[in-house]
């Protein structure tokens, strides 16, 4: 893998050492899922406990799942990491903290159903990382610069590519999965209620994990993207640049500017504008 050779040279290390560093991130991701399942409330108090609800629903009546075990697992894990993140727990930003639930959700849900080894999952992280670097260099991974399509959208694209690779897909299929996952997330605005990484971020991680799995399934079946992956990434970059600032993480538009969103902002940041000075 050319990317691995290039990274090893840049970081003045060996390819084996890079894989080992990737593998060392897996327990952090697993712990963040466990932490989220404990149901801690977030710092702003808007989220917490939904991953635990999903897990309980799956445990009580597995046959009742609408979407099947792999996607149900992925949704549970994505919510768990999102909630752990919102409660100031330890996570792996991948590519960002706000989108940190997508990749572990897809990798571990697939890992469970296909009994993948840690080494294989670490290789999945490498593929995802390489895709993320391409998106970062052609467009952006920042919600403030490109909206949530750049965070949850990129995370979905990275996870979709990794999933195809882990399921034995060819490099071209990886590219198609990346293109299709990102296409389905285009235009996604970043509109955090009260400016916090809570609503809609946590549930968007679950949605992005689903998009990743859907894109991977299509690519593995031989469905191709009409628009080549590089052009989809470029389109994401231009859409991001065209988004008004109110829809790029400023909490001045979208869900943040709904009556309920504004009410939360008022409740959480009451007293702001009166100096806002705190001392330790």
């Amino acid at each position: 893998m050319f990317c691995l050779q290039r990274q090893a040279a840049d970081l003045e290390t060996t390819e084996a050492a890079i894989l080992a560093r990737m593998e060392a991130l897996l327990p952090v991701m697993r712990d963040s899922i466990q932490a989220g399942l404990q149901g801690h409330r977030s710092v702003g108090g808007l989220v917490g406990g939904d991953a635990a609800k999903m897990a309980a629903y799956g445990a009580e009546c597995p046959g009742n799942s609408v979407v099947g075990p792999v996607l149900a697992d992925a949704v549970t894990m994505a919510l768990a990491v999102g909630e752990a993140n919102a409660s100031m727990g330890r996570i792996v930003a991948a590519p960002t903290a706000g989108s940190s639930g997508v990749l572990p959700a897809v990798l571990f849900a697939l890992g469970k159903s296909r009994r993948l080894s840690n080494k294989q999952l670490a290789e999945g992280l490498l593929v995802a990382g390489a895709i993320g670097m391409v998106i970062a260099s052609r467009a952006t991974l920042s919600g403030a610069a490109g909206g949530c399509q750049a965070e949850c959208g990129a995370a979905a694209a990275m996870a979709a590519g990794a999933a195809v690779d882990l399921c034995g897909g060819k490099p071209a299929q990886v590219g198609d999965a990346v293109a299709m996952a990102l296409k389905n997330m285009l235009g996604l605005v970043c509109d955090p209620v009260a400016g916090l990484v809570e609503v809609p971020c946590v549930k968007r991680n679950a949605g992005a994990a689903a998009q990743a799995l859907v894109a991977a399934e299509m690519a593995l079946a031989g469905v191709t993207s009409v628009i080549p992956v590089d052009e989809v990434i470029d389109a994401m970059g231009s859409i991001g640049a065209a988004l008004p600032a109110a829809l790029r993480e400023t909490a001045r538009g979208g869900l943040a500017d709904t009556p309920t969103g504004r009410e939360w902002a008022k409740r959480l940041f009451a007293g702001k504008g009166e100096g806002n000075s705190t001392e330790t």
Partner: protein, 220 residues
Amino acid sequence: MNIFDVIGPVMIGPSSSHTAGAVRLGNVARLILGEAVMEARIGLHGSFAETHRGHGTDRALVAGLLGWATDDLRIPNSFEFAETAGLAVTFSDINLGELAHPNSVRFNLIGQAGTRSDVTGASIGGGRVQVTRVDDFPVELTGDFATLLVTHHDQPGVISLVTAVLGQQGINIAQMRVSREQKGARALMVLETDQTVTDEALRAIAALPPVERARRIQID
């Protein structure tokens, strides 16, 4: 950018820009000061000013000033640790102008030995940071590389004296920037290097007659 900037960092939530980047900014500011921080006036601009409490940005900045890593589980409780350590912190909202990055912060720091440093920087996404001003000098410092900061008198030959020491120690310069208050006055050299600046190199550079101070910035 490397692959661990995309898959990583390992950090305490909820926001790579508002939390991990804030920890790194605190760390860089502490290393620029060059001694334990005793007093910190922290000015928050833009999005940092708007949402720092909900994101724990304030706690993360203080964690950085205490020298902690981005994944330190004590970050949510950093205020209590600062109090125990005798570090006094004040926050205020500031306006650095339209051109400043929305996630910008200005530190006015006083250290254990009375040294003062003013550091302005921004969290630019994914936990990455950029320091834009140190005291009155414009800089471009990311903390991605090992970095050497040298305050010196603006006179001919200083750059070659400093780079000669680095060359002898086998330390390769990746990027370099020099700025000065005015011709012949105080100047600041920022060198980003591929290898860690050794203690020996740091001492040798600090001992050069035209050099006022030399500091090493290295964060993992």
